[in-house]
Subunit: 245 residues, 2 copies
């Protein structure tokens, strides 16, 4: 069950504090304890505490962030829940397969985050671009309104099931260290990349949004290893140094 400690659930812009409390309870009952909040509307909150019902420890130790990028510092693999893919070039997994992928990532030493967007709208396009995978839950085509805390409960349940199955079929392995870059390294890289692209006039007002989006998704899909990052940053620095003013 060690893998569950490497997986954080990240609620972005949550509107109803009751959902935050219910999510804390949903996590704890399945053995997860890492809750992160990005710009919650209300936290701390009495309603959240009431719904947490004994999972106050998970609730009160939640990390609160102002930006998604800061929350993803230290995270290697990002899974975003989404009812729609919106045509983005990001691989889509069902929740069960995603749980297997998350546990496998944790097994190889990675820190994993699972993102849940605002109750009404889900993740924005910009938030999805931080994701290596999008995760979908099965739903009634005529009524797909899965409650936020209920979705967290199903996700936590699948993660625990995946651990249980794996522990049945494997003997324990030594803890591995990820060879991939975490979110902090990636953020620094993208800043470097995009500012370089600006300096090159490769990015302009019109194409900037779609261009940075495509780059992010491409690198996220590949995953960049630490030694590769050194090469990439070295390359960008070389470009910077050699730009004509």
């Amino acid at each position: 069950m060690q893998q569950l400690k490497q997986i954080s659930v990240l609620l972005i812009g949550t509107t109803h504090p009751g959902n935050i409390g219910a999510a804390a309870r949903a996590l704890k009952v399945m053995g997860l304890d890492r809750l992160s909040l990005v710009n919650p509307e209300e936290y701390p909150s009495a309603e959240a505490r009431a719904r947490a019902s004994g999972a106050d420890d998970v609730l009160s130790s939640a990390n609160v962030y102002e930006t998604l990028d800061s929350a993803l510092s230290g995270v290697h693999k990002v899974f975003g829940t989404s009812a729609r893919s919106r045509g983005m070039d990001i691989p889509i997994l069902d929740m069960r397969t995603a749980a297997a992928a998350m546990i496998a990532a944790a097994d190889s030493g990675e820190q994993v985050a699972m993102l849940f967007g605002k109750e009404r709208y889900g993740l924005t396009n910009e938030e999805m671009q931080r994701c290596h995978y999008l995760v979908q839950f099965p739903a009634n085509p005529d009524y797909g309104s899965l409650n936020l805390a209920a979705a967290v409960q199903v996700a936590a349940y699948e993660l625990r099931m995946q651990c249980l199955q794996q522990n049945q079929s494997q003997t324990s392995k030594p803890q591995a260290t990820s060879s991939f870059c975490d979110g902090g390294k990636m953020t620094g890289f993208y800043q470097h990349l995009f500012s370089t692209m600006h300096d090159l006039d490769f990015l302009n007002v019109e194409n900037q949004g779609s261009m940075t989006e495509k780059f992010r998704m491409m690198f996220n899909r590949m995953g960049i290893k630490k030694h590769e990052m050194d090469m990439l940053r070295g390359f960008l620095s070389a470009v910077n140094k050699n730009l004509k003013k």
Copy 2:
């Protein structure tokens, strides 16, 4: 997905009306629509409607019963959720396996009910004795407090997943009719059996509880087919007729 229409979720003695509304939503989002309530503390309720959030149709069409036996009339297979088995001789399944068993029962034409007890205590021993199977959810050994509506959500999710997997691997089959007795037939049989046992002085004040319990669990485990029931009732009637006064 036709099988989901043969599965009802039965909440017994629910204390918080919000859980009833959230359960209705949890069912509808996964394509289930049969909610039954046995002695709810508050129904209908404004809080339940608020939490149902668009699943008002499932909520308002819930069937309300005064006794569990009346709710189980017409039901062939009963699955009871329980954190503990309490040493009863009833087979225990994890939720995933239970979902497969429920869909298989529905496939063979049976009506299926899944029972959820009161928030604080779960099913009573007497309620468990109505069950053919007990269902357990995986949980943190240090904190097993799974919220009622969250449990309903996980159950409904597993049922939908099971249907999706089955529909992928099978072509559709003609609708079958169950050869097993429903709950109404079983209730009538137990009344007949126990009154006969009383007349025989086989049941007395001391052994009555444990004895009827063991009989119920044995017959439930076997499952009684319709033609077998005719034989059993015929046998009991023969006993009744031939009792010396």
